[in-house]
């Protein structure tokens, strides 16, 4: 539930950001994520950024997936 898609912040104006997903652009509200910066990826849900994606954790998860898939 709760479709949210990772989107890249291209620019910020007050509480509003312009975000981009593979060329699709939209306005997004940063009222839930005031700490977000240009260059961050956020989870976009119904026009609001609900969280800033942690790229370090993303990388760690991929590493974990690779490790798990090699060892049983």
């Amino acid at each position: 539930m709760c479709l949210a898609i990772p989107a890249l912040i291209k620019s910020i104006d007050g509480h509003q950001a312009e975000v981009d997903i593979d060329g699709v652009t939209r306005q997004a509200s940063l009222q839930l994520t005031p700490e977000a910066k240009v260059g961050d990826y956020v989870l976009l849900h119904t026009g609001y950024a609900i969280n800033v994606i942690d790229p370090v954790e993303a990388e760690e998860t991929l590493k974990l997936l690779k490790e798990l898939s090699e060892v049983y």
């Binding site: 479709l3 060329g23 699709v24």
Partner: protein
């Protein structure tokens, strides 16, 4: 003439004639139309194909086209999908009172350009104007006649087990381009509608192979609907591979954003072909040489299993049904 369409423009009197003579005839002028008789008269021999469609797209102008371009190509394509050579179109407008003449002129221009590109002539037409509120800006109906060359037998019921399924290019472009302009969605996409005439592409495919069994353009309801129609009409199963589907990155992203499945999003300049396996590669090669088939791809095949149903092999190697859509695609939050 003022700058807005009035009820009088549709009533057959002087204003109507002005509209026809100042706008429509100069745009479409051809010997048949120019007679301005009640009916178009022309000689035609062979097996006739005849089709009609009405166009109510909203918004009427969208990236890559407008309702006029759509009205020509949609009907040209319906003829092409049966293997017919499209020849003549009728063109009927139903216009809401108050519609700007400048926009009507743009649309007439689009119709003209599209008809020229497709190589068809507009030979007869009609214009009605209705009270404000009785139509959503402008509706168009086009009917078309064409000739089916001898020996051509294309039908959704002709698919045979073993046939290959080919699409002519990227899926979902039109639907997403139009949606991006709709009130309430407000997203920008670097995608234009793929609205295009496919008759020349089809003619080239038919030159390459006499074993093209089915053709259809996956308009409303997308690829999924067309494949389901073939499966039911032919009582065969169809299996497609998720990884082989050509879809633009931006269309994928827009679909993710709105919760759509690209398999259900409309196309207006694409076709699906079901071809005998012996000829699939050469049909594909020929398609790729046409401007409207450069990204053509084999996406699956007709199988014995699950007759009447379409199944997709996912990237993980599992299979799942691709069903007919239920009603309009609606953006969802869940």
């Amino acid at each position: 003439m003022g700058d807005k369409v009035l009820l009088a423009h549709g009533s057959g009197g002087k204003l109507s004639h002005d509209l026809i003579e100042k706008n429509f005839v100069p745009a479409f002028g051809n010997p048949v139309l120019n007679k301005l008789d009640d009916s178009a008269v022309f000689e035609i021999s062979g097996q006739l194909a005849f089709t009609t469609d009405s166009y109510t797209v909203n918004p009427i102008f969208f990236p890559g086209g407008d309702i006029g371009k759509l009205a020509v190509n949609g009907t040209v394509n319906d003829l092409a999908m049966i293997g017919a050579i499209p020849l003549y179109l009728s063109l009927a407008f139903i216009i809401e009172e108050g519609f700007p003449i400048a926009e009507l002129e743009k649309i007439v221009n689009s119709v003209n350009q599209a008809a020229n590109a497709a190589g068809v002539k507009i030979v007869t037409g009609d214009t009605k104007v209705v009270n404000q509120g009785s139509a959503d800006k402008l509706f168009i109906n086009t009917s078309g006649v064409g000739i089916v060359p001898p020996g051509v037998d294309i039908s959704g019921a002709n698919a045979i087990v073993g046939d290959k399924v080919i699409v002519s290019g990227s899926l979902g472009d039109h639907g997403i381009a139009v949606l991006s302009q709709r009130e309430g969605l407000k997203f920008q996409v670097p995608i234009e509608s793929d609205c295009a005439p496919l008759n020349k592409l089809v003619a080239e495919m038919l030159e390459a192979s006499a074993n093209i069994h089915c053709l259809r353009d996956p308009t409303r309801g997308g690829l999924a609907t067309t494949l389901n129609e073939f499966a039911k009409q032919s009582q065969v199963g169809i299996m497609i591979e998720e990884e082989s589907l050509p879809i633009n990155k931006a269309v994928l992203a827009a679909c993710e954003l709105l919760g759509f499945d690209p398999l259900y999003v409309a196309n207006e300049g694409k076709l699906v072909a079901v071809v005998a396996p012996s000829d699939a590669d050469k049909v594909l090669a020929r398609m790729r040489q046409n401007q409207y088939g450069t990204e053509a791809a084999i996406i699956g095949e007709v199988v014995n299993e699950h007759p009447g149903k379409v199944v997709m092999k996912t990237c993980l190697g599992s299979s799942r049904i691709v069903d007919m859509p239920a009603g309009e695609l609606l953006p969802r939050i869940c």
